[in-house]
């Protein structure tokens, strides 16, 4: 049980953190692991264990948002709790802007972006986790990225280069 926890804790907590925000991520992650440990005996193995755990995570996070009525208003409080990324200054600036934009996305878009682009899952895995068709998954991803581009503004790449140049 503890091995399973250590294997998935980063991904589960990271996904929960980026979907519901930093203040509620721990509560959602706890709920997910309790469901995993209590439901492990009834896990049928129709999908990979990781797919099942990610599905529980996404469902728990979206349900949490629905319960709180905070689907589109996560706020920036989560950003203040983000640990300092061990990356270059350029990556840090872009990451901060992306994290800010992520919090302003609708929860469904946030989920598909986190699964596909942040966690690096395939369209097939995303479709299995979100329980939708692959075509729907691709379409949602396209719309989510378009919305992110709008939120980040034009010339993302150039602004990053500018940020890098302006950073002492």
């Amino acid at each position: 049980m503890e091995m399973l926890y250590h294997q998935y804790k980063r991904r589960v907590f990271g996904m929960a953190h980026r979907i519901v925000g930093g203040s509620d991520a721990e509560e959602v992650a706890q709920e997910v692991f309790v469901r995993v440990f209590r439901g492990l005996a009834s896990f049928r193995g129709d999908s990979a264990l990781s797919t099942w755990i990610y599905r529980l995570t996404v469902n728990a996070a979206l349900s949490h948002l629905a319960r709180r009525g905070r689907r589109n208003e996560v706020g920036d409080d989560g950003l203040t709790e983000l640990p300092a990324p061990p990356a270059t200054e350029r990556d840090s600036a872009l990451a901060a802007r992306i994290e800010t934009a992520l919090t302003q996305l609708p929860a469904g878009y946030r989920a598909i972006l986190v699964l596909h682009d942040v966690e690096g899952l395939s369209h097939e895995e995303c479709a299995a986790i979100l329980e939708c068709r692959i075509g729907t998954c691709k379409s949602q991803l396209h719309k989510a990225r378009a919305r992110m581009r709008e939120l980040l503004g034009a010339n993302i790449a150039e602004r990053n280069a500018t940020d890098k140049g302006g950073t002492p």
């Binding site: 503890e2 926890y5 804790k9 980063r10 589960v12 907590f13 990271g14 953190h17 980026r18 991520a25 721990e26 992650a29 706890q30 709920e31 692991f33 309790v34 440990f37 209590r38 009834s42 049928r44 983000l82 640990p83 990324p85 061990p86 990356a87 990556d91 872009l94 990451a95 802007r97 992306i98 994290e99 972006l113 682009d117 942040v118 690096g120 369209h123 691709k138 991803l141 396209h142 990225r145 992110m148 581009r149 980040l152 034009a154 010339n155 993302i156 790449a157 990053n160």
Partner: protein, 266 residues
């Protein structure tokens, strides 16, 4: 000619390497000529790379402790839940996770089976309401009379109109009238059996003690009073069944006592 409107929806798939060669070539060709789409593609690529390079988020050290506390609380709640609720939850969980999903014919067969079972139970319950057949009691020794032999022991080979007569199907009115007359017939049947048993009891009571006779008369008068008082047909029939059982038991006991040279009902 490929326009921007046709290219931009394909940019996500193109940048993820999901377009087939010919489609990818078309998108590449448009991007070479269109600066606006080239900028959108650059932005999307930067966004995709930025998302992939987001730093991992470490969970707090308290997460594992919180999970263990929640698991313990869930187990305590399990122990406090009533058994029927746990069984129901287990059944619901089994139905949700079962690989066996009943098809419509299987559901229909199960429905027919359930209906047949209900019908059978209903018929058995209805039969239980009918009067019991009286226990054949031997006549008192002094009253045993051998039946006289029949003057015509062999049946005549003549026609049997009663058996060979064609039975006509009853009309709908006949069936309804028959059903309506059923309670009266049942009551009449009870009355006939009670009369026969009372006749035998009158013969037997000569051997009972005064106390037993009084007890018998009181009980019979009480039950007959209830029957005479009327009420629902079902209730009257039930009381008649009680009277019949009482008479049968009394007569059986009296017969046993005669054989053991002691007298009176209990």
């Amino acid at each position: 000619m490929t326009t921007c409107d046709k290219t931009r929806p394909r940019l996500t798939a193109y940048l993820d390497g999901e377009l087939a060669d010919d489609h990818g070539s078309v998108v590449r060709g448009h991007l070479r000529e269109c600066a606006a789409c080239r900028q959108v593609a650059r932005d999307e690529a930067a966004l995709r790379d930025g998302l992939r390079l987001l730093p991992p988020v470490d969970p707090p050290a308290s997460l594992w402790g919180g999970i263990q506390a929640r698991l313990a609380a869930a187990e305590v709640a399990d122990a406090r839940r009533p058994l029927w609720l746990r069984v129901a939850e287990r059944w619901i969980r089994w139905v949700r996770t079962a690989r066996f999903a009943p098809t419509m014919p299987q559901l229909a067969a199960a429905g027919v089976f359930a209906a047949a079972a209900v019908t059978l139970l209903t018929l058995r319950a209805h039969r239980a309401d009918e009067p019991p057949a009286p226990v054949p009691l031997p006549a008192p020794p002094e009253q045993i009379v051998r039946p006289a032999p029949s003057p015509s022991p062999s049946p005549s080979p003549g026609p049997r109109p009663a058996l060979e007569r064609t039975v006509e199907a009853p009309s709908a009115d006949d069936v309804v009238a028959d059903l309506l007359a059923e309670p009266a017939r049942t009551t009449e049947s009870y009355g006939r059996v009670v009369g026969e048993l009372m006749t035998r009891a009158q013969t037997e009571r000569a051997r009972w003690s005064d106390a037993d006779r009084s007890k018998f008369d009181t009980r019979v008068a009480e039950l007959r009073g209830e029957i005479a008082h009327g009420g629902q047909p079902r209730s009257v029939q039930r009381t008649q069944r009680v009277l019949i059982n009482y008479l049968q038991e009394t007569l059986t006991h009296s017969r046993d006592n005669v054989m053991l040279a002691s007298g009176g009902p209990q």
